[in-house]
């Protein structure tokens, strides 16, 4: 076996920071500070409101390692399987936080000022932009400790900048692969759009080996400039032994709109924190999530729709299908800050329970400090409607396929809101594959 990528030897996460990384010194300083912060913050417990119902026992990091090597065979297998959309504007593939393939964006987009490069290059070549936006918001939804860990250990990721008025029609695609027993990754996406820019990004999270335990701790910073349109899709398909945390912050400037969709297929435990900051008048944010939870999987979603400016809108739709002994948690707050008059904020969570042992926990919340606000929120759980099932039976469709159709149809409401047929059909395919497995 030949090694194509040499990293520092795999070492336990908790053994401390390696000093070999080739990153700018100012960034290394930040990482050292972040590591100290990580060490000083306590592990979450269920008594913390932000970790209520969470299986915090799974967050023991002792067995996980950073670094490691990738063989040529593994690299080939990963590239072979990095199949997402048919047509993309640009593409990056990371394995174990190493960039192993990059399809650059067109010269035309480059000429117009689009920057699509690895995080470590952006730190050097676009230090000002990078420093202004990189993890500029504190993690407030519970995972401050893990955000600090991420900052300390992040070694690569994607930087995408779309300048004034540039619209990238095709999606930009990013793969993150976990490889090896107890491996860990710290995926990062920093997406900055300027005024009236438009872009769609899809990130795929996958494991090379479907059995290997692993750990993923990612951060996304999405910045929608004035009037910009940003769509972000996350297709989480880690192996079923993986523990994953992802912290997403979206900042929506005036008249901008952001849409995000998180699909949860894989992992043992996956926590997704979504903070949507509506900081400019007329901004809009759509937060979508679709989860297919089976076996012992646990999906833990925490959201904040933070209305800072007046005339802002947010709309959250989370749909979970739960089978076997799977669990989902939704903790979501709509906060309308004192000056954010004329806000429209919606939050809807729907759980479809396919088994008596599945458990869906929902904790919606409202905090309204402004006037003239329209808010609705609600979370419901139900089972497959017997009459619907009979209708499909009466057409000759056997129970298993009928259930699958009803479940995919149930989830489709959120997927269709993306209004992007190519991405929708990719997500539908992932869902189908999970049912077929």
């Amino acid at each position: 076996m030949s090694l194509v990528i040499h990293q520092e030897e795999a070492a336990p996460i908790l053994s401390g920071l390696a000093e070999l990384r080739e990153l700018p010194e100012w960034f290394r300083d930040r990482q050292r500070a972040a590591w100290k912060q990580f060490e000083s913050l306590p592990n979450p417990t269920r008594k913390d409101q932000t970790w209520r119902f969470s299986n915090v026992g799974l967050l023991d990091l002792a067995k996980f390692k950073v670094g490691g090597t990738l063989t040529e065979e593994e690299r080939d297998a990963i590239l072979e399987r990095s199949r997402g959309l048919d047509e993309v504007a640009g593409r990056m593939v990371f394995a174990g936080d190493q960039l192993i393939e990059r399809d650059v964006i067109s010269d035309q987009l480059k000429k117009r000022g689009v920057i699509f490069q690895s995080l470590e290059r952006a730190m050097v070549e676009h230090a000002d932009l990078f420093r202004k936006h990189f993890m500029s918001q504190p993690a407030t939804l519970g995972s401050a400790r893990f955000a600090a860990l991420h900052q300390a250990l992040v070694s690569s990721g994607t930087f995408l900048y779309v300048p004034h008025g540039v619209e990238i029609e095709l999606p930009v695609e990013i793969f993150h692969w976990l490889n090896g027993e107890n491996a860990s990754v710290f995926p990062h996406l920093l997406l900055v759009t300027d005024e009236l820019a438009k872009v769609t990004v899809i990130e795929h999270f996958c494991s090379l080996d479907p059995q290997s335990p692993g750990f993923a701790c990612g951060v996304n910073d999405l910045v929608a400039g004035p009037g910009a349109k940003v769509t972000y899709v996350c297709a989480q398909n880690w192996a079923e032994n993986v523990v994953a945390l992802q912290m997403n912050t979206t900042t929506v400037d005036h008249d901008a709109s952001a849409m995000s969709l998180n699909l949860h297929i894989g992992s043992r435990y996956s926590r997704f924190e979504s903070l949507s900051r509506l900081s400019g008048e007329g901004g809009r944010s759509d937060l979508l999530a679709v989860a297919v939870a089976k076996h012992q999987q646990e999906f833990d979603a925490r959201t904040l729709q933070d209305h800072i400016s007046p005339h802002t809108a947010s709309d959250l739709l989370y749909k979970n299908a739960l089978d076997d002994r799977a669990r989902t948690i939704f903790g979501g707050l709509i906060r309308v800050e004192p000056h954010a008059h004329f806000t429209d904020a919606y939050q809807k969570v729907r759980n479809l329970l396919l088994s008596d042992d599945a458990e869906a926990n929902s904790m919606p919340g409202l905090e309204i400090l402004a006037d003239n606000v329209r808010c609705t929120h609600g979370a419901t759980s139900g089972q497959i409607d017997e009459d619907e099932l009979f209708y499909l039976h009466a057409r000759g469709i056997p129970t298993k396929i009928a259930q699958r159709l009803i479940v995919t149809g149930f989830l489709d409401e959120a997927i269709q809101r993306l209004n992007h047929p190519a991405i929708s059909s990719h997500l539908q395919r992932l869902i189908e594959e999970k049912f077929a497995a």
Binding site: D385, E386, D387, E388, F390, Y391, L392, H393, A394, R395, G396, I397, P398, T399, I401, A402, L405, I406, T408, G409, F410, L411, D412, E413, Q416
Partner: protein, 254 residues
């Protein structure tokens, strides 16, 4: 033997008997109309034929081409050639008509055999046209937000696609405007033939002007009280159900 044979059927819901000794034979190739007042048990009969789990058959039997229908699961009955057009079709959110019918047709193929997509769509569009519907319908979720008339057309579209041996149409005419009624009747008539037996449940003589039945049965309080040729429907319209009930000496058939 090529018939749907219902013999002395009794059906109870929540301990109450709704169908009370019903006997009826629908041979393949014939159209039988079933008429009767509200609550007489017509839909209950239809649902039991299709295998709805809420209803209990307490006595009697149903044979489809000699095979005991009642011991088959609902999906198995459908695959063997029974179709029911629902009086109140369910909405299936997020499942398009195209995907739904595809799954239904796929389920009729032997294991390992894949439905041919081009043939499937060709057939689907042909039937869509037959029923005067727009192709865009096929990408809408089944019955979701459909008007009453659109739901009924969609039932007949499914009938046309699935080509059953026996079809029970439960008030497919109700809620249709006159043009839609003609289109649906045209659709049903074009499916008529020696291989299909139809049980047509309706309240209105009007439908029978367009789909001319071979036989008409009148059902009152869970039983067939009169049977006759198509003229019976006209007579019934003139004289009403009291006449039908009073005149009945014993549950008749044919």
């Amino acid at each position: 033997m090529k018939e749907l044979n219902i013999e002395n059927l009794r059906i109870a819901v929540d301990g109450q008997e709704i169908v009370r000794g019903l006997t009826l034979r629908v041979p393949r190739g014939e159209v039988h109309a079933l008429m009767g007042p509200n609550g007489s048990g017509k839909s209950t009969l239809a649902k039991v034929l299709a295998g709805h789990p809420d209803y209990h058959v307490t006595a009697g039997k149903v044979l489809m081409d000699g095979e005991n229908l009642l011991e088959l699961e609902p999906d198995e009955r459908a695959r063997r050639g029974l179709f029911m057009a629902f009086q109140y079709p369910s909405e299936i959110p997020g499942v398009t008509i195209a995907n739904f019918l595809r799954a239904a047709m796929q389920s009729r193929l032997p294991e390992g055999e894949e439905l041919e997509a081009t043939d499937y769509y060709a057939k689907l569009y042909e039937k869509i046209e037959l029923l005067g519907m727009d192709r865009s319908f096929t990408s809408r979720a089944v019955n979701e937000g459909f008007s009453g008339g659109e739901k009924k057309r969609t039932e007949i579209l499914q009938l046309a696609m699935l080509e059953p041996k026996y079809a029970v149409l439960d008030e497919t005419d109700s809620g249709l405007d006159i043009d839609a009624l003609k289109t649906v009747a045209h659709g049903v008539n074009s499916l008529r033939g020696p291989d299909l037996g139809i049980l047509l449940i309706t309240h209105y003589q009007r439908l029978l002007n367009y789909i001319i039945p071979d036989h008409v049965h009148v059902m009152v309080a869970g039983r067939i009280v009169r049977s006759g040729r198509k003229e019976l429907a006209l007579e019934l319209e003139e004289r009403g159900y009291d006449w039908a009930r009073d005149g009945a000496i014993e549950p008749a058939f044919r």
